[in-house]
Symmetry: C2
């Protein structure tokens, strides 16, 4: 049974998730946030930032597969991809499963997240050493603004941010989405994690409205992520052209994502459709 | 913010869900289990049995809609339906939205669950007074065995049980599924809640194998249920004939279920397909 030590996340002021801890492996205050690594009985190795679960060994695949493969198969031929946040490397790993991708940029403000992932999460971070991966330890908002002036545009941008508090707040607004739009090539696609339809509906509404102010086509899709609040998560997709129905059918070594799961993920229940309309 | 009083469910020995309590409204030990009713900040009114969340006002619709409308639209013309467990009345309410249903039987072993639902959950239990609803406060295993000898067979049987411990253990095995098979008419369909693919994969494997030993057609479908362990739940469907692809398209006043959501719910991710094969 292990020692009676628990990690508790206050997912909202009124809901907690508790995970029994085998051992706390690392804790530090980085310049940006509190970082913890621990081994849990139920979900294997756990990474938290400011007390919020970012990833666990046993359920990371839901999130990383769904945030990466959906835009990468909707885009007709993605070659240049950027991830803002996502310092653990899990999204980069999934992106690099697509052989057509020539460059996958990781833009992470907190170098300690990358360093700790390299040390404690080798399965997530190994592909950061892939020659096609480029790690930029800088502010994503600034980096994205500079990309707009570059001749070579991005095909897909993925916002793998923490919750919209602190450093990540600016990643959920219209101004940032506009700088992403400017950095994207004509067929470009943006995907952002936009929290739980059950516990953060206001955030989804806000992000979708901001995205619609910038992109001609905006969609929402859903997937389970057991250790995230409510266990059920949303992703917002803004596109300059390609549509979910255009997705290429590719075969990948995945545990959650498939082309059929992707189509199913865009089917919205009535209460979610309604929250997008208000 | 309310008082700092929390309900905590040990969803497994290693995972907890905590809900901030506004007020505990009722607690008792029935002959079968401990029963609690409380108002929570995040999910409204809560019913627990033996410390496990059964239902909350704000997320009950996921579970009740998905356990009821899936078999009732796959069956070509369901008229006689039985629910084993489900004393709160939520499944009966959804069943009676189908005008073709002539009789909906609730077979609940613990009369206190029904009484407390009538008192504290009027929105769930109101349809128990519908003339088409028939409440049987008896052991579901015994009741089902007797149905096999009846001339009039059932079209759909729904197992809305607690977790497979205590009184509910017998509701997950081959012997019980066989008595359901005997009680069903030629086009008959059984649906049972079969726990979380993330946290109880062994249970799904066990229930599916037992169902396959009895029914010629067995399927699994999935839906989010935020307050259940991992927030993601499975339902096992055994059919004498009708298939998920045959489902009738009907319009119902639902918040999660739609015909398209239903089709999407049968799309299984690779790791779930694999657990069914082993």
């Amino acid at each position: 049974m292990g020692a009676d030590i628990w990690f508790t996340e206050h997912q909202t002021p009124d809901v907690t998730l508790g995970l029994r801890i085998i051992e706390v492996l690392w804790q530090e205050d980085t310049p940006y946030q509190h970082l913890l690594v621990a081994d849990t009985e139920a979900y294997g190795r756990l990474l938290t930032l400011d007390g919020a679960v970012q990833t666990t060994d046993r359920d990371e695949f839901f999130y990383h597969e769904m945030i990466a493969h959906v835009p990468l198969t909707i885009h007709p031929h993605p070659q240049r991809v950027a991830v803002v946040g996502g310092g653990d490397g899990g999204v980069i790993r999934e992106i690099l499963r697509h052989p057509g991708v020539k460059a996958a940029h990781l833009v992470e403000i907190d170098e300690r997240v990358v360093a700790v992932a390299r040390q404690f999460f080798p399965e997530l971070s190994a592909e950061l050493d892939n020659p096609r991966a480029h790690v930029h330890l800088v502010d994503g908002i600034q980096w994205m603004r500079e990309q707009g002036a570059q001749a070579e545009k991005l095909d897909v941008v993925i916002i793998d941010s923490t919750d919209p508090v602190g450093a990540a707040t600016g990643l959920f607004g219209e101004a940032f989405y506009r700088s992403v739009y400017e950095a994207l090539a004509p067929d470009g696609i943006l995907v952002a994690q936009t929290e739980s339809p059950m516990l953060q509906p206001h955030l989804i509404r806000h992000a979708q409205a901001a995205m619609r102010a910038v992109f001609p086509h905006v969609h929402l899709y859903l997937a389970p992520v057991p250790t995230y609040p409510s266990g059920w998560w949303s992703f917002s997709l803004g596109s300059k052209g390609p549509q979910p129905a255009d997705a290429r059918t590719v075969s990948l070594p995945t545990r959650y994502w498939t082309p059929a799961i992707q189509r199913a993920a865009f089917v919205l229940p009535p209460f979610v459709s309604e929250l997008l309309q208000t």
